[in-house]
Symmetry: C2
Amino acid sequence: MATEDSGTGLPTSIEAAWGLRERPGKGPRPGLTLGRIVDAAVGIASVDGLGAVSMSRVASELGVSTMSLYRYVSAKDELLTLMEDAAYGPPPPGEPAEDWRTGFTDWAWGLRTAVARHPWVVNVPISTPPSTPNSVAWMERGLACLRHTNLGEGEKVSVLMLVSGFVRNEARMTFDLLAAHRRKGQSLESSMASWAKLLEKLTDAERFPAVTAALRTGEFDTPGGPDDEFVFGLERILDGVEALISARS
Amino acid sequence: MATEDSGTGLPTSIEAAWGLRERPGKGPRPGLTLGRIVDAAVGIASVDGLGAVSMSRVASELGVSTMSLYRYVSAKDELLTLMEDAAYGPPPPGEPAEDWRTGFTDWAWGLRTAVARHPWVVNVPISTPPSTPNSVAWMERGLACLRHTNLGEGEKVSVLMLVSGFVRNEARMTFDLLAAHRRKGQSLESSMASWAKLLEKLTDAERFPAVTAALRTGEFDTPGGPDDEFVFGLERILDGVEALISARS
DNA sequence: CTCTTTCTGCGTATGCCATACGCTCTACTG
DNA sequence: CAGTAGAGCGTATGGCATACGCAGAAAGAG
């Protein structure tokens, strides 16, 4: 089986992504590389969504048989993990801004941009704490943004998880809804409008006074840009983090 | 087919959940109810996880054939939506606290409690904006908690989505990790510790100075309770919301 | 009371999916 | 040059959602 090696406890394919594991000289030369497999899978996901990524589809895209892939990846979820790593890509190079809030805002937007480029990543099931190269690199950069704050190391990590979780979740809702609307051939606006209409039909003013009041303002009909909710949430969270940092002085 | 009716645009099964749609007098009496089907599916998910919920498994649990279920539900994802609604259940009755922060904190904890009772809900794919009875009821209550603030209606909804998204995402990470650890037969502590060890092996101090520094404090080895991250994140977000409310005065 | 309509349950079939197993052939090591 | 580790892959197993159409039940229409 050999799902582990080198004492890292990582699956072999993930070790390969870190650049460990050189090829032993024996048998025939591999005809593929992990990179090509992951690229093919990413391509499929980008065009037809994560659901379209099957081992046989990836294999046929590469002109090999399904089972060949299992020489490179011991199970599909390893492939998914590697796809995720590839989708995030490396964080921007160079030093982050001196001011934590500037740097951290950049960081959050960078993550969001990566996710927007590959919306399917947010549907990759989480199975382990981040241990792929790019994930750890993004973590490194996030921590670096907070280097001049007086937060404890544990707090920094918590802030990181809070914000990256927010980015992921926001993207998940936004892009899943967008995809659902596209599937039904509607625009986001008409879809929101019909949702509002639906709620109006379902909610009476006695049992749902607050929803009724919110609907009456008509704000649901004008959803604004897809980034609006992201901007709003990020500002609130960073305000909260700022309060903590101030309290530590 | 009849996936829509009554002008709501909702699938028939969801309309049934709202109590619309009475039985037409004609054909044979249904041997099942939507409720029994959903209960069975929820039971399976609670015991063996969402992945174990298949149409055939649900059917055999009920002693009927697989295809019978399609008389009640037009596709599996309708069943999932109904399961989600059942898992959240109704929000607590009565008036929320006068003070928005008290009430809203209760609301967030209530959501978290519901999710903790049925951890699989967070893996139900999001396909539409909330339109099931309990989802709307939770929305109603969340808005009610903010009734004495000076936020605009759109802002209230944004705050709602921000916090409920946080609850969902936090639960997703926490419980997925817990499940992964259980699958490998490890405790959370030992698993976190081995993750820290792994990162130490993978990261050198030159390329990953911040991660190295964080690891050196040893804070990863003492994960604390599973609620710690939740409490931390919720406090930050509510601080941020409070800043907004103050700014509106 | 009978006929027609409408709805239920369900058997069967299709076409996906991940992946276990074991064979053949390759290319390097001793 | 022999031995062997590894590559590619054909086949098989056991899952899955769900389309289709049939048989029989229940209620209304005449």
